[in-house]
């Protein structure tokens, strides 16, 4: 049980947090032929765009209503209208996903009203879905923007279905949280396919931002879930929601379509995956495939081999609530102790994080708590702290701009958990200090002998 505190500082130093609108935009990027659009000044878009380009190393579709000072004061209807028309003409998307920003929220632009007006004035745009999400920068964080956007898409794009409608037994909805990578989604799909189940994933970054060479040029998203597939989600037999943040979206789905859901607060670790596999076996009525059985056995072996290295290690983690939850739970199960936990926004899970304290704060706070730790886990911006502290640094979360393969970092399922164990254990092993001639020197020769002798075992 953790005490949840909020930093009392006026000045955020080395932010951990990223803004809500870009979480929203990322969710839209998991929809096929979509153009995400920020209602704000062009800098709001440019910063988000550059961040994603550096993380995914892909071209990123993201547009702006390019609000000027004057337009901001007078209201942005013309800009929203113009932007939609321009995008419809140039990129020809099936859906435009609009997220507000700090600028337009401060002014109080009524975007819902604008969109009604645009619909009235432009029947020629009827074939394009327009989804709007309110995401002021000065409130909440990245994963909130993602979660709100998915909920909004469920409300607006999924066809309503009566609760007793016939269901397709082999179709499962998956609502992944913002902390799942394209690689995680691929892994999940693979697991479901083992049971003969088809995964319909909203949003599906595995098709759009998994880093592939596309067959043709496209100015919108390269792949992802199509509008038709979203509309038909009501005919699935079950919904899997991954991460606490997805609870509202899963509830919205159930309310709209009667599809029951199961929420997994994480999918990294042995026991949670046992629950997933049991559920899938039950839903599909099929035996657990041999492949999965072997993967489980491999994970158990990895845990056995790995626990020597994890035991007693002190860990500092900076991540959004659901990722913090996943990592802290899992690494505690491996025998390590979470001594520093910093996150970005409120979540009902924070109190249960296995640490004395969870701080809603920044990387300066994390750096202070990571002193003397054996491992720092956070996104790439932790690199300066890790360097100063001279401790191993595992990059996880968005942004990861100074390493390749961010999209394929996979930590879900038996296999993902196994790989994570190996990666981290190897970092611990690489950090092990070779004994030196003076490691076991007598007390008069060195003042640190007590520590070093202990460390060297």
């Amino acid at each position: 049980m953790a005490t949840v505190t909020t930093s009392k500082k006026s000045c955020t130093v080395n932010p951990l947090k990223m803004s809500q609108p870009i979480g929203s935009a990322l969710a839209f990027m998991g929809v096929k032929n979509c153009m995400p659009l920020f209602h704000g000044s062009q800098g709001c878009t440019s910063f988000g765009l550059v961040l994603f380009v550096r993380h995914f190393k892909e071209a990123i579709p993201l547009q702006t209503t390019a609000m000027s000072e004057v337009a901001t004061v007078l209201g942005g209807f013309e800009n929203v209208e113009q932007a939609i028309i321009t995008i419809a003409k140039r990129q020809k998307p099936s859906i435009i996903g609009i997220s507000s920003t700090g600028v337009t929220e401060t002014k109080g632009d009524d975007v819902e009203g604008y969109l009604k007006l645009v619909r009235d004035r432009h029947p020629e745009l009827d074939h394009i879905a327009l989804v709007y999400v309110s995401t002021p920068d000065f409130k909440d964080a990245f994963q909130d923007g993602w979660a709100k956007t998915v909920t909004r898409m469920v409300d607006q794009l999924v066809t309503e279905t009566p609760a007793d409608a016939p269901r397709e037994r082999d179709r499962i909805n998956v609502l992944p949280g913002a902390h799942l990578t394209p690689g995680d989604i691929d892994e999940l799909r693979d697991i479901l396919e083992g049971f003969g189940l088809e995964a319909v994933v909203l949003p599906d970054l595995s098709g759009s931002l998994d880093g592939h060479v596309p067959d043709d040029f496209t100015p919108t998203t390269l792949g992802g879930i199509s509008l038709d597939e979203i509309a038909a989600m009501g005919s699935a037999c079950h919904t899997l929601a991954i991460g606490e943040q997805m609870q509202p979206a899963a509830e919205a789905m159930e309310q709209r379509t009667g599809v029951p859901f199961t929420l997994f607060d994480r999918l990294t670790g042995l026991e949670v995956n046992d629950r997933l596999i049991a559920l899938l076996a039950e839903l599909s009525g099929r035996p657990v495939p041999n492949k999965i059985k072997r993967q489980r056995s491999q994970l158990v072996d990895a845990m056995l081999d790995g626990h020597f290295h994890f035991g007693g290690k002190k860990i500092a983690i900076g991540a959004e609530p659901d990722l913090l939850w996943t990592l802290s739970q899992w690494i505690t199960e491996m025998g390590s102790e979470v001594v520093g936990a910093v996150t970005t926004t409120a979540s009902p899970l924070l109190e249960q994080v296995p640490a004395a304290e969870v701080l809603i704060g920044d990387l300066e706070d994390l750096e202070a708590r990571a002193r003397g730790c054996d491992l720092l886990m956070t996104h790439s911006h932790g690199r300066q702290a890790a360097e100063r502290l001279a401790i191993p640094f595992y990059r996880i979360g968005i942004p990861m701009f100074d390493r390749l393969g961010a999209a394929h970092q996979t930590i879900v399922g038996y296999r993902g958990t196994r790989n994570l164990i190996f990666e981290i254990a190897n970092m611990f092993m690489a950090d092990g200090h070779e004994p030196q001639p003076d490691t076991w020197a007598l007390p008069e020769n060195t003042e640190h002998v007590g520590e070093t002798a202990l460390a060297a075992g």
Binding site: S10, C11, T12, V13, N14, P15, K17, M18, S19, P21, L37, G40, S41, Q42, G43, C44, S46, F47, G48, L49, L51, V53, R54, K57, E58, A59, Q63, T64, T65, A66, S68, E69, V70, A71, T72, N79, V80, Q82, A83, I85, T86, R90, T101, G102, V103, T106, K107, P136, D137, F138, K139, A141, V213, P214, D216, F217, P219, H381, Q384, F401
Partner: protein, 562 residues
Amino acid sequence: MSSLSSKVQEVFNEPGCGKNQGKSEKERKKGCTKQLQPGGAAGGCAFDGAKIALQPVTDVAHLVHGPIACEGNSWDNRGSKSSGSNLWRTSFTTDINETDVVFGGEKRLYKSVKEIIDKYDPPAVFVYQTCVPAMIGDDIEAVCKAASKKFGKPVIPINSPGFVGPKNLGNKLAGEAILDHVIGTEEPEYTTPYDINIIGEYNLSGELWQVKPLLDELGIRILCCISGDAKYHDLASSHRAKAAMMVCSKSMINIARKMEERYDIPFFEGSFYGIEDTSEALREIARLLIERGAPAELMDRTDALIAREEARAWAGIEHYKQRLAGKKVLLITGGVKSWSVVAALQEAGLEVVGTSVKKSTKEDKERIKEIMGEDAHMIDDMSPREMYKLLKDAKADIMLSGGRSQFIALKAKMPWLDINQERHHAYMGYVGMVALVKEIDKALSNPVWQQVRLRAPWEEQTWEEVADAAIAAEAAALAADPARKAEKRRATTVCQCAGVARGTIEDAIVAGGLTTVEAVSEQTQAGTGCGSCIGKLDKILQTQDHWNPEAVAAAAQSQQAA
């Protein structure tokens, strides 16, 4: 905000700026009221520009007053290098919340400055304004003044909220801020007749250090580089330099010009990209210093150093020159690099087949023309497929561009080299030129290109064949159907800023009998933004007999009849 809008006006009246000089009185008055195209705009905002311009000042705390988006989404993303403090890489933001938006964020800002001074004790704090606090009326100038008085430290307001305009405007507003509040506020420990400023150089990838040894050898001291690897004290005492070199042609012209006006520091515009440009720049520095009283023998030493270093660079390039001869480079970049890189590449025997002039000023373009001849194939705004087509038609062997277009090149499976700010290699001075050529050779000769272009065993066609077929089909369809061809021609956007299609311009010319670019601009708004399409407008006017043969013939007839 009245002081901000007058600052913006001032920047737009900048007499040293070629672009603004080219504008009429009326146009200049309009300043940046030009509306960016909603849904069709890309690029950073004025805050971004201001931050980019000043962030390389290494020992200063850069505090961003705004919601998390402005700083949280963008920090530590520049490759400037520091020889001293790394405080500039520590990110500070007030991360204002809903309560601040309602009750005002000035108090939080003041407290933030205090916390920074208590914890980090920097020589100065730079406070950057953003859109939301500007909207709710936070007066950062007043807060900075109060904090400065209270804490006895310079707290400098950089008033450049995102929505006042594009990145380039932000560069200049940042320049104004340091002219007003920083430059001339301290004195150097000593001065020499060899003190210069370098303006508009950000020391990306440590490039400045490729040139600094040359200056060191000549005894020339960089009093301050604005702003790469600068310390606050250097910046504050930079008004004692004898001469200045302005490196980036757009971003900081106002600093160079106003320092000439206020402190009598003559400047020239030059480049350290390319061998000849570097030599030229060194000679120019020596010339200006001698004019300001340095001994004339400086020029002899400069010439000797140039001769020695040029020979060394040519020897370094010689090895690659043969391998690269006849190879064609497609250059897609903006601003200063367009012309400086063109010169550099030609020195290595490469042929430049195109360059984008998206962000280049009129002067830049003139220079490109001068270097490449009148036939320069300038590409304003290439679509990905056009880009592929150009590369594919064997017109180009390699593409050089900034970070964002790389994905098109890589997906088109084309050798590509990054030459914009996010790049990891340094290409300045003589050694940098050799490094650039080496990198091009490395990219071109990498066997991976043959590998990745192989067809998968289960595919009937390669991806390129599919694209080629689509391009060919499109061309054939257009050729067979003059109406569609005309339609496509008319649909092309000529003016990106105002979003004016060619058809609108043609119609206005025909309907109004327009004969001048000014008249076209007045009628259609085309060319009223950045002005980079003026040449195109002129060409449309000149070639009316091509796209509107009937009208021209009729006009000729009626003239004869009269």
